[in-house]
Amino acid sequence: MSDHDTHSAHAHGPITRVGDIPSHDDHDDAGHGSGHDNHAGHGGIGKYLLVFVALCGLTTMSFLTYSPYWPWRNEPHVGWAFMMAVSCTKAMLVVLFFMHVFWEANWKYVLTIPAAMMAIFLALMLVPDIGLRNRMVSQERALHMARGSDVRLLEQAGEAKVLAEPAH
């Protein structure tokens, strides 16, 4: 029974409980070298390939928004929301399986959650000064900054045949 317990402790991940910390030397144990291809109990090449296929499929999905078959061409926000959802799914897959976080002990929350919250706050704190910087601008700046009308002007210039084609 105790044998079985030791085995299952390894089977759920490299570290499953306090005091059971494998060092590098643990991997050298003769018992691990043979017949333990799915060492540490997680992963497995099949699982990784499955994640890989899912990632490729998701990349194709986000690329779909660029293709002529995307139905919401005139609604860019639909495409943006879709792509962010796809990206977050991909990121979750990479973090959970490739980075083995799915099988890690609870320390993963200690490191990732504060960093993720800081990341969100960092971005949010930029909104008032940077994101809304063009709500109120000086007249001079308003005069010189590019606007959507400039893009339309350039497009009109491209379509209008102002220049005479030289005779060949």
Binding site: P68, R147, Q156
Partner: protein
């Protein structure tokens, strides 16, 4: 190096003298080992990665905030971004994430040779990613898209300042000589495209010098120098664009006339900052893989491979967000 977080130690020689602190002489002594229950290398890698999360969150956050706060932002094809190339690079990076994971698996299974093969493949895929990135950078540089003047040729709008910049460029002695040389070249020594472009260039020179210049004239000049490609997905690159998809800057590369991309300067700053920092991270990963290739990649090195892999997956993770944000938004 990895003692238990809490171990119980029996203090047998407690009475042998020299201990004046007056505790811990009887029974088990709890020895507290501060730290998380994982190997030190991995802990440091994760701590580093959590700082990296914030680093890239700041960069990506600034990009998003700048982009959506801007009155106008160039479309990907305005700045010569190719979505298929970006998607290909995404695929390359995902493949390399799988190969490094396989290298770790085989190293743990004590198959050092196979592990080395996957590690080498990861290195090659990373190099391919950087190569494609370099090719993409070249496409930007060749259109005068740099983060800053004097190399950057991008103006925000076809206004008076743009007109005077074009005039200034056309008035440079070297360019005057080149233009004279071009005007004097017999038409049979030039390709049909060059002859047509020469005709347009001559008209543009008159337009920018004319005192009766209208705002629309400068837009025509900008469009001739470097048109904003009207590229539709899966559609033609030059359709409906007055018969010219390539600008005068493409046909006469020595010309290097100022070009107009509304919002192009801020775009270039963010694009080069984001992809540049990402590319530096890729480069660091490649150096680590190269060093690891000198080791026998058995179970003894599994910890090192795991840490290198964690870093590499993070680099992949950043690109997963960069690709849609830069290429598809």
């Amino acid at each position: 190096m990895n003692a238990s977080a809490i171990s119980i130690q029996h203090d047998h020689d407690g009475h042998s003298g020299g201990h004046d602190d007056g505790h811990g002489h009887h029974g088990p002594v709890l020895q507290y080992q501060p730290g998380l229950p994982l190997t030190r290398g991995k802990l440091i890698m994760w701590l580093f990665l959590s700082t990296e999360i914030m680093f890239f969150a700041a960069l990506l956050g600034s990009y998003v905030v700048l982009r959506f706060g801007a009155p106008v932002w160039p479309k990907p094809h305005h700045v010569h971004l190719s979505e298929p190339i970006g998607a290909f690079n995404t695929f390359v990076l995902i493949c390399s994430s799988v190969t490094i994971v396989l290298a770790l698996e085989f190293a743990r299974a004590n198959k050092a040779g196979v592990a080395k093969f996957w590690m080498l493949l990861t290195l090659l895929l990373g190099t391919l990613f950087l190569g494609v990135k370099g090719y993409e950078y070249q496409a930007k540089f060749s259109h005068g898209i740099y983060p800053q003047a004097p190399r950057g040729l991008i103006y925000e709008k076809p206004d008076l300042y743009y007109g005077s910049a074009v005039r200034a460029r056309l008035g440079e002695p070297a360019i005057i000589d080149k233009l004279k040389e071009l005007d004097d070249t017999p038409a049979d020594q030039l390709s049909a495209e060059q002859v047509a472009a020469r005709g347009r260039l001559q008209q543009i020179r008159k337009m920018v010098a004319s005192p009766e210049q209208q705002a629309f004239d400068l837009a025509v000049v900008a469009d001739q120098v470097m048109p904003l490609p009207t590229e539709g997905p899966g559609g033609s690159h030059d359709g409906g664009h007055g018969g010219h998809a390539t600008g005068l800057n493409d046909i006469f590369p020595w010309l290097r006339l100022p070009a107009v991309i509304p919002g192009g300067n801020m775009w270039a700053s963010t694009y080069f900052l984001l992809t540049g920092f990402h590319a530096v991270h890729v480069l660091v990963g490649l150096i680590v893989f190269t060093i690891l290739l000198f080791y026998k990649l058995g179970p003894k090195q599994a910890g090192k491979i795991e840490n290198a892999g964690l870093y590499w997956h993070f680099v992949d993770l950043v690109w997963i967000f960069l690709f849609p944000l830069l290429y598809l938004f």
